[in-house]
Symmetry: C2
Subunit: 202 residues, 2 copies
DNA sequence: CTCGCTAAATTAACGTCGTTAACTCCGTGA
DNA sequence: TCACGGAGTTAACGACGTTAATTTAGCGAG
């Protein structure tokens, strides 16, 4: 009686194929330039088959996005985290920036594309978990007297925002497209350092 | 013999109508959701007329974008700039953030949309001029001993990046869509303050 | 006055996109 | 053996950006 199970497994395989093909195309071309037909072509199915596995294009990309958040969380946790909380925030920032620059199109959709109105992240989702990593480190930095005594959530958000800003610019603009002057080669590091310095007790 | 001049003036009027209608729609709906046909409908012309005035949709939005950069520059310069350089950076940041939050769809296209590969800003363009305002203030802050003695361009970029980060997040996500915790109500101010504090001499 | 030219505007159409409807095919269970 | 259900396909719809062909209007030259 494992028939329906085999059916489900086969269906899951096709779903995986779609997701993998979509991710490859998506990482190379970006959301707009990836068509449902192109994804279908890549796995040698007809375009309408995708609609047996996903509601629509947004649903497909949303599923992709969830996996990307999981991968980001993996990147943030895989390297042995330093004991020192400030050092750990530094490492988290570097890993975060590395992920963003390695997968700019994914980053664009994860953090630079408006979400559906109804959608809101649950506490156990990888996205929230990633932020918790940062928040916990900030909390420890405060408790250890390394950071100023300000609201932990707000400080974590400021750090995230500042870091997001620099990678968002680098993901969006080519070097020669920066206004006035090209980006400093160590702009990411400088932003991380300045943000940490701002919160550190002298 | 002012005939050709009148002709040009009339043509310019239509161009203005297109730009104004496009801006209104664009500010409300965002780039993707504004169609050439909708713009044409709004000014009661046929869609193809737009192509007598603009190369294509990207050219139209690019022209719009140039005007928006000019308006941003106006916003940044209209209020009397404080004498104190650090205070001036603060005021610039507040004005910049205010612009972004008042015109989120414009901000999205100005600073969050990849540019054509060939395009690169000229030094006298409003975009570059705006950045120069910030850079000059940073330079004065350094010379006045208010800021650390680090490369001025890099510091200005860090400030811009950090500020961009916070407004980009606020422009992209609704309050309930932030991971884990909703955004601190004064997140913009906190980000500005922390960034300035990071560069200030103790 | 009229003819022909120029240029702006329009209508019609093309190719592509996301998506839906109708149909085919096939393994399964009665 | 046969009806069922679901995965997959083909065909098609409506909307989009854009282009080609056509119309229209105003001006100068004969």
């Amino acid at each position: 009686m494992g028939i329906t199970q085999r059916r489900e497994r086969e269906k899951e395989e096709v779903r995986r194929k779609i997701l993998d093909a979509a991710r490859a195309l998506f990482a190379r071309e970006g959301y707009d330039h990836v068509t449902m037909r192109a994804v279908a072509d890549a796995i040698e199915y007809s375009a309408t088959t995708i609609y047996n596995h996903f509601e629509d294009k947004e649903d497909l990309v949303e599923a992709l996005c969830q996996e990307d958040f999981a991968q980001l969380l993996a990147v943030l946790t895989e390297t042995a985290p330093p004991q020192d909380p400030v050092e750990r925030i530094r490492a988290l920032g570097q890993a975060y920036a590395g992920f963003a620059r390695r997968y700019p199109n994914h980053y664009r959709f994860m953090f630079m594309t408006p979400r559906d109105e109804g959608h809101q992240p649950k506490p156990d989702e990888p996205g929230s978990r990633s932020f918790e990593l940062l928040r916990d480190s900030v909390k420890q930095a405060v408790e250890g007297g390394r950071f100023r005594n300000e609201p932990v959530d707000a400080m974590a958000q400021v750090i995230w925002a500042s870091l997001h800003g620099v990678v968002a610019l680098l993901v969006t603009y080519r070097e020669e497209q920066f206004p006035c002057v090209p980006p400093a080669p160590d702009l990411v590091e400088r932003t991380i350092e300045n943000t940490l310095r701002g919160f550190s007790v002298s």
